[in-house]
């Protein structure tokens, strides 16, 4: 099974004709992902290395049966592109790689999609998702992955790679590795991923990589205690990060004591999660639980 993507994934890339979009789309295709279409308004009717390009998502979906969208669109236009993908029948996953989308755009986009559609949104500002041996959608280096039965979910791109690397070098394979992105309003949360990993037959254990800020890890801890029966190993970054120079009091009033690395560690440990101190310990800790 894996989660989010697998061999049934039919990938459409918004911005396929761009340098970055094209580079990563074809890396994904080389890995085995079924890349079926590109969308760039104004370039409809052309193709990139044989992949047809359309002006609109709905046209591309109708012509190619795409079910997954990867968005490589510059920040000023990215939210519009994601909303176009979300409005298209047939698309059930959008992976938004774009970094630097204004926070107000993200908040509107997230809430509108939630209110009007069932599509899953990964990101924005995320490295994507890889189900080793099946498909890769995003910018993750697939060379470091290994097919297997551990699910990895992370807020940080490079720390995801670090975690996957620790697993692979110990010959522990992954079912799916998901980077949910570090922006304030991620489309998919830890909880969403934990729910999918818990339901996935091919996942036996879960690695969760968190960092300071927000309360996503605290929410994950609550969900783990209520629902997750599979073993979970966590690593949290930011113990020595300087206290945020946040202006004003609003943030402090909202978050109370949550948001610090130590608060997240304690919340996760309290529900039975193994929280490691060094990223290098992730492999050992998972091996001990399998």
């Amino acid at each position: 099974m894996a989660i989010f993507i697998d061999t049934s994934t039919r990938l459409l890339v918004q911005g396929l004709t761009g340098r970055e979009g094209g580079f990563h789309a074809f890396r994904n295709r080389d890995y085995g992902t079924n890349l079926v279409a590109g969308v760039t308004p104004g370039k409809g009717g052309t193709d990139v290395s044989g992949v047809p390009v359309f002006d609109t998502v709905s046209e591309a979906v109708a012509a190619t049966g795409a079910n997954t969208v990867m968005t490589f669109v510059p920040p000023p236009f990215a939210a519009d592109a994601v909303l176009e993908a979300a409005a298209s029948d047939g698309i059930d996953l959008i992976v938004c790689i774009t970094e630097g989308i204004p926070a107000q755009d993200e908040a509107r986009m997230f809430n509108y999609i939630k209110q009007t559609s069932d599509v899953a949104l990964l990101g924005p500002n995320c490295p994507g998702v890889i189900s080793p041996g099946k498909a890769s959608v995003g910018i993750m280096p697939h060379e470091i992955t290994l097919e297997g039965r551990v699910g990895v979910v992370s807020r940080s791109g490079t720390l995801t790679y670090q975690a996957v690397h620790e697993l692979t070098t110990r010959d522990i394979g992954q079912s799916t590795c998901v980077g949910i992105g570090g922006d304030p309003v991620p489309g998919t949360s830890f909880v969403d991923c934990l729910e999918r990993f818990q339901a996935d037959d091919e996942t036996e254990a879960i690695v969760l990589i968190g960092e300071i800020g927000g309360d996503a890890e605290e929410q994950a801890a609550v969900f783990i205690s209520e629902t997750v029966t599979k073993p979970v190993v966590a690593y949290i970054a930011g113990f020595t990060a300087p206290p945020g120079k946040k202006m004003g009091h609003a943030g402090a009033i909202i978050s109370g004591s949550s948001g610090t690395a130590i608060a997240k560690q304690e919340a996760l440990e309290a529900v039975g999660v193994t929280v490691v101190t060094y990223p290098t310990q992730i492999g050992e800790a998972v091996a001990a639980l399998l």
Binding site: A103, P141, Q162, G182, V185, G213, H249, G251, I254, Y278
Partner: protein, 381 residues
């Protein structure tokens, strides 16, 4: 990007929220002439991008322009929590009938906007919230449609602001929410939002933080920076597109991705060292980015060793290595470099460094090994 009080107030005035009239001054003489312009008694307020000015003595009332000059002389040059006061805002004194608290921010947990309002403004609002949570009313706003009029009224009534001023207060609430959204703010906080003796509603302070990602929509916003007293290292890094924060230790850190850099800081600390900075080169860094990052660190006299920790994804390790080689050639690097490369093109990157055969470059196989070596080379903590 955090604004000075007076800059935030200029944005409030743009959306029609009344603020007291005032002038900026960088010398006591300017403060006197500002006070003279304004007439009557004035308030002299230190402009710093940090809270707690009042308690630190950075806000003083002056009966006339002579006193304003004397107080400005006291306040200018003060150090408030590490921030030097380079300017004061001189504004007309206002008769206050009530002091309220109001803020708008994103509630990351709920993924919606949150308005907070209290009738107990003008004082330690975090203390109020901790001791009597009901005294700070919270209201979620759907970013899709924004704040409705009824929500502004509900906020005002639930917070128990003065009933007679409810409509004026609600109008200010909506205008400030409008600023929060339309001007792409991460935070709009007013403490105090006041009821004047004349029954008007006015913003007496401002804490505004702008979303720099949205500056393409606000071409006039970057100019706010000209008034900042930015750390020269941070400014240099920003101008080169690097995410840099100055810290207290001696190990310079360069990495790709905020999470990995934070993790590197943690590991350096766990092995007994301390980082002199946080420096994230971001995704897809080329050779130039790395030489730029190294050049920034050469300007920091507290650095004694540098740790470069790269896990390549979108970033290619061969380009990173090439950047290091270029820096070795073009810059006079005063410290040893411990380099850990993994991920995309790591093999090629390590080979490039090996070929360069510089005794300044110490390769490391893991983050932990890299941290241990860098801390040792920095001479411990």
């Amino acid at each position: 990007m955090d604004l000075f009080e007076y800059q935030g107030k200029s944005l409030f005035a743009r959306v029609g929220v009344p603020v007291p009239e005032g002038r900026i001054a960088t010398t006591p003489a300017e403060a006197r002439s500002a006070a003279q312009d304004l007439g009557g008694s004035v308030v002299v307020k230190a402009q710093v991008q940090v809270g707690g000015r009042g308690k630190a003595g950075g806000i003083k009332m002056a009966a006339d322009h002579h006193e304003a000059e004397a107080l400005a002389a006291e306040i200018l040059g003060m150090d408030i929590k590490g921030h030097t006061v380079n300017s004061v805002w001189v504004e007309q004194a206002t008769e206050i009938a009530a002091e309220w608290y109001l803020s708008f921010t994103l509630d990351r947990g709920a993924k919606r906007h949150m308005a907070m309002c209290s009738a107990r403004g003008g004082m330690d609002i975090e203390g109020v919230a901790a001791e009597d949570p009901d005294a700070v009313v919270r209201l979620h706003i759907d970013p899709v449609v924004g704040m409705a009029n009824w929500q502004a009224m509900e906020l005002v009534y639930r917070a128990k602001l003065d009933r007679g001023a409810a409509r004026k207060a609600a109008a200010a609430v909506r205008a400030l929410y409008g600023a929060f959204v339309e001007l792409d703010c991460d935070l709009v906080e007013v403490n105090p939002l006041i009821l004047t003796a004349d029954g008007d509603v006015m913003a007496l302070d401002s804490k505004v933080s702008l979303d720099t990602s949205a500056f393409f929509r606000h071409p006039d916003f970057p100019a706010f920076r000209e008034a900042f007293d930015e750390d020269p290292l941070e400014q240099m890094a920003r101008e080169r597109g690097l995410n840099f924060i100055k810290l207290e230790g001696s190990v310079g850190i360069i990495g790709n991705g905020a999470g990995l850099v934070m993790s590197t800081l943690d590991v350096v600390s766990l092995v007994g060292g301390a980082a002199s900075n946080f420096l994230d080169v971001g995704g897809g860094a080329g050779a130039d980015t790395i030489t730029n990052a190294l050049e920034v660190l050469t300007k920091d006299p507290t650095v004694r060793s540098v740790l470069i920790n790269i896990f390549g994804g979108i970033t290619r390790c061969d380009l990173v290595a090439q950047g290091i080689v270029e820096a070795l050639a073009g810059l006079d690097l005063p410290w040893p470099l411990v380099v850990r490369l993994d991920g995309t093109n790591a093999v090629e990157g390590r080979a490039i460094l090996a070929d360069a055969a510089s005794d300044k470059v110490i390769p490391a196989a893991t983050m932990l090994e890299a941290a241990e070596k860098a801390v040792e080379l920095a001479g411990g903590n």
